[in-house]
Subunit: 103 residues, 2 copies
């Protein structure tokens, strides 16, 4: 119990951002983000293509949607990458200035 | 100098995410995000409409673009909101378990 880090608290408060970066189909981080252009709901490319192959609607809002309505949402891929890197760093790195033991 | 918080370090490592959530035109956080559907570059709605009114191309990659090519990118608006809330919390909140003074 040498130093009580604040990092878990930072991570908890990032949970909302974390949730938004996940695919509503597989619940993992978005992987090659594709947006349905009418409703702007976003999924992994593979997840939404598989879904649309048996049902032609958005799995979130049920709006009629086909593969031709999908658009890359590349900025999300970049955000996911940066966010994951940050998350790893927050989980691994020790606090910056641990107090020396008051001897 | 009662407790050296780790929060600034967490904020530094979130800088990359922060950058991605900013508009390439005004450099502020994206406000009503609109994506150019061919290149998927994303801007504030007002910023990109103003730009396209005098030049019909994407300001980032120069691809021919008009207002009809713009699509809402709503998930980014949600991410910006959550990120800003987190940022405020990280900046304001004191560390969770401040050590009692070793009297
Ligand atoms: Zn998925
Ligand atoms: Zn939808
Ligand atoms: Zn802007
Ligand atoms: Zn572009």
């Amino acid at each position: 119990m040498s130093h009580e880090p604040d990092l878990p608290q930072a991570l908890v408060s990032l949970k909302n951002v974390d949730n938004l970066l996940r695919c509503p189909i597989c619940f993992d981080y978005l992987n090659i983000s594709m947006m349905a252009q009418q409703c702007s709901h976003t999924f992994c490319s593979l997840c939404i293509r598989k879904f649309l192959s048996y049902k032609s609607q958005c799995p979130v809002c049920n709006l009629a949607t086909t593969e031709t309505d999908l658009r890359n949402n590349r900025i999300l891929d970049d955000i996911v990458k940066s966010f994951q890197a940050t998350r790893q760093r927050l989980l691994q790195s020790p606090p910056m200035s641990p107090k020396p033991p008051s001897s």
